[in-house]
């Protein structure tokens, strides 16, 4: 520990929706830019974030996500409407639009920045086995590991975050 301060950030990314892919990548790249040592452990649906060619098409579902603003013109759309076909695609394109308007980096851009800054990206071996994900489906520059890999890293001076 450096003067009692954390020198590492250990992050678990367990969700594969567009809205849940952003926070771990933003915090990881920011921490790495602040000279911290960072590991993100991608487990369960978090693996979607690492899938080559697919991670630029992550979706966000309005259903069961009442915090997501759902307004068409001046009309507020009830959350249950999210069950209708096409609503997930609509919410996804809405969120892409907001992100573009605010000039927020895309998921692949943040992954590139993370690797460039030396963030360690770890894909969960067990999840790969359970979901039948092959190493070739994932982006380059990853490590594959298990819970112990993450815990070993997180056990020393780390801020630990789970998404």
């Amino acid at each position: 520990m450096e003067n009692g301060k954390a020198t590492r950030m250990a992050i678990i990314a367990a969700h594969g929706t567009l809205d849940m892919a952003y926070p771990p990548l933003i915090l990881a790249t920011a921490a790495a830019a602040m000279d911290m040592e960072v590991t993100i452990f991608f487990t369960f649906y978090g693996l979607e974030i690492l899938k080559k060619g697919k991670n630029e098409h992550l979706q966000v579902a309005p259903l069961g996500n009442p915090a997501m603003p759902a307004v068409v013109g001046d009309m507020h759309v009830p959350n249950i409407v999210g069950v209708l076909p096409g609503m997930t695609a609509m919410a996804t394109s809405m969120m892409h639009e907001w992100m573009k308007r605010a000039n927020v980096a895309s998921i692949p851009e943040l992954l590139d920045a993370a690797r460039e800054l030396g963030v360690k990206l770890v894909a969960c071996q067990m999840t790969m086995d359970v979901l039948g994900v092959k190493k070739e489906e994932l982006i380059e520059g990853l490590e594959i590991g298990g819970a112990a890999t993450f815990i070993d890293f997180a056990s020393e001076n780390a801020i630990t975050l789970a998404f």
Binding site: I26, T29, A30, A32, A33, M34, D35, M36, A102, N103, V104, A105, A113, L117
Partner: protein, 78 residues
């Protein structure tokens, strides 16, 4: 305060966390003692640059605000 920057980095229009990522890369490329001027339009960059310099040990010599832009003068300390 009149500070001469050795390099200027324009992060206008970029959102968090890109300004600090680009600032880190730019500072890495400078020599100790050289000064980077970073320009941003993200209002969050004000507190972020305070935090970034505090955490990394580089020195925030001055920060200015004019016409919706924020200017930060950072001296590489190590």
């Amino acid at each position: 305060m009149d500070i001469k920057a050795d390099q200027v980095l324009d992060c206008s229009g970029l959102s968090c966390p890109m300004p600090i990522i680009k600032t880190k890369k730019a500072i890495d490329a400078l020599q100790i003692g050289q000064v980077l001027e970073m320009i941003a339009t993200d209002p969050g960059s004000k507190s972020d640059m305070d935090a970034w310099t505090k955490k990394t040990g580089h020195q925030l010599l001055d920060s200015q605000e004019a016409g919706g832009k924020f200017m930060f003068f950072i001296q590489k300390a190590k």
